[in-house]
């Protein structure tokens, strides 16, 4: 698909009354998309709602259901679907989940669901809208299975900045640094990658950027591809895990937010991004390592030696999580057990808060820096009752995805 306007169908209850509808429009506009409400006749609303079979009371939810059926049946055309309802509404949460599942199972439309508060801003919605439009627009690019030429991917995350240089489907250079000043960190990791690969900037055929700093870095270094991390990471994950065909699930527990993406043939179908609090992110594990007096790289092996179940810990909120951590140590629990409990707590929060929003299909691939913490991977595997795949270079997943996808621009350049 070209860079045409992407039409995103909105199925919702409440955003106009919560005062956030304008934010939804703004986020869509920023990524060249248009949000629209599928128009239906009264007879179709009645019939579609009845046929779907979920007997909700709210009128707007009935309408959302009827619109979803129309999208699946094809009587209304759209490129993607955005499902939104009030945070804290139980009835809407049921509808949101069932509609997301229904659309995912019965159509190829990319879909994202979101529960908003009156404080939701367009910035919060931007990455989700960007991912929706990318999937709709760049199916051909996302279907790319091999990296060609000499390309570089830069991933500017909230905690770390990574760069990878690839040549003929192989990683030949990497760079990794904590993110401080966005451009400065990017310059450092690029220099490291160039050095390891033994190439120069001018040798590159194409560049891709992703992560929070993607726009700034992408514009400064003249990237061919500037793309959000949801699609880039899922592509990088299935590439490295050699799962480019069939279904898979990608889990990326990040420094600031978590991503869970349901992928089919390398193309994301449904995804969720967020997390209730930093307590359910890599940040909590970083803090745990600091409190235990070990380096973050030692936390994984430490946790593997401990028994998480012996220590009560609930990191639903990072403040409560810290409280549990301090209490557990004061009660005399070993460092190993506390490390294991922290890993279990983060995995549990992600499982409870986010993984319920997508359909888990094996293989489950864990990526990002936190996938190197074995204790966390073990805890997630136990919760999901499956063997988790952690591919090589999993911490470079965004950079690898960006290097792979940007190779689609090699011939053009």
């Amino acid at each position: 698909m070209s860079e045409d306007l992407v039409r995103i169908a909105q199925l919702s209850c409440g955003p106009e009354y919560s005062g956030v509808q304008k934010e939804i429009y703004t986020a869509a506009e920023a990524v060249g998309a248009e949000v629209f409400f599928p128009d239906l006749s009264l007879a179709d609303i009645r019939r579609n709602f009845r046929d779907f079979g979920l007997d909700v009371r709210s009128g707007d939810l009935k309408l959302a259901i009827a619109r979803a059926v129309a999208l699946v049946e094809g009587s209304v055309e759209a490129d993607a679907v955005f499902i939104a309802s009030c945070f804290r509404c139980a009835e809407a949460a049921i509808v949101r989940n069932e509609l997301r599942r229904y659309i995912h199972e019965h159509s190829s439309l990319p879909v994202v669901s979101y529960s908003f508060t009156e404080r939701t801003t367009s910035g919060t919605l931007l990455t989700r809208m960007e991912a929706l439009t990318t999937i709709a627009r760049r199916r051909a690019l996302l279907a790319r299975e091999r990296q060609v030429g000499l390309t570089m991917g830069v991933d500017s995350g909230s905690s770390t900045t990574k760069a990878v240089i690839m040549q003929d489907n192989e990683i030949i250079g990497t760079g990794w640094r904590p993110t401080t000043e966005v451009m400065g960190s990017a310059d450092e990791v690029m220099a490291l990658a160039f050095e390891e690969a033994g190439v120069k900037r001018e040798d590159l055929d194409a560049i891709g950027t992703t992560g929070y700093g993607r726009f700034l870095i992408g514009e400064r270094i003249g990237a061919d591809l500037i793309q959000e991390e949801l699609t880039v990471n899922s592509k990088g994950a299935v590439f490295l895990a050699d799962c480019q065909h069939g279904p898979s699930t990608v889990i990326d527990i990040g420094g600031m937010d978590n991503k869970a993406i349901s992928v089919n043939n390398g193309i994301p179908g449904t995804f969720t991004m967020g997390g209730i609090c930093a307590g359910a992110s890599g940040r909590f594990l970083e803090m745990t390592a600091k409190r235990l007096g070990v380096d973050i790289t030692e936390l994984g092996p430490l946790a593997m030696a401990g028994m998480g179940g012996d220590v009560p810990m609930n990191s639903y909120c990072i403040v409560f999580g810290t409280q549990s951590l301090v209490n557990a140590l004061a009660e005399g629990h070993s460092k190993e057990n506390v490390a294991a409990a922290a890993c279990h707590s983060v995995a549990e929060q992600v499982f409870e808060q986010q993984l319920q929003e997508i359909d888990i299909k094996e293989p489950v691939i864990m990526v990002g820096g936190t996938s190197l913490i074995q204790g966390l991977v073990r805890a997630m595997g136990e919760l999901l009752q499956t063997e988790i795949v952690v591919p090589h270079h999993s911490q470079y997943i965004g950079s690898v995805g960006a290097a792979l996808l940007s190779s689609g621009f090699v011939e053009k350049n």
Partner: protein, 149 residues
């Protein structure tokens, strides 16, 4: 003339019935028109802003979804003003949609708690019940005559 809150508040038929029998209908048509026509606000389509959800705290607590609170900032002032109410139970979608079931529950509760005369009537299913429906609303509205100036 009494100020009669109608439920569903978007029902034009109820609004018309109340007006025909000499009372003022308190529905959302006017409050929504005000939102659309007020200059300076720019949150389409209703021009509701997050401030409205904050104002809704007067009727619903902060744990309540923001959509309910935003809706209450429209319905709340109408309920406060109401001197009587006609509530149609289990109304058809086409008769007037209220959108949020949780808001509906709160509205019904608040209007009953006010202690004003309230008529609760089932939505008609055929012509006979339709005639009885209009007749009962007419009788109720007539009973309000003289009780309010």
């Amino acid at each position: 003339m009494a100020k009669v809150f109608i439920y569903p508040a978007t029902s034009l038929i109820l609004s018309d019935l109340v007006a025909r029998f000499g009372h003022k209908a308190l529905g959302t048509a006017l409050s929504i028109r005000e939102r659309i026509q007020t200059a300076g606000l720019d949150s389409p389509p209703l021009q509701m802003t997050p401030e409205d959800a904050k104002r809704g705290l007067r009727w619903a607590a902060v744990e309540v979804p923001s959509g309910v609170r935003g809706r209450m900032s429209l319905f709340g002032p109408l309920i406060d003003e109401a001197e009587a109410a006609v509530i149609v139970k289990h109304a058809d979608y086409a008769f007037g949609c209220m959108g949020c079931a949780r808001t509906d529950e709160l509205i019904e509760f608040l209007i009953k708690q006010k202690g004003v005369p309230v008529l609760e009537v089932e939505y008609p299913s055929d012509e006979d019940t339709g005639i009885a429906f209009v007749r009962s609303i007419k009788a109720f509205l007539k009973s309000l005559e003289g009780t309010h100036e």
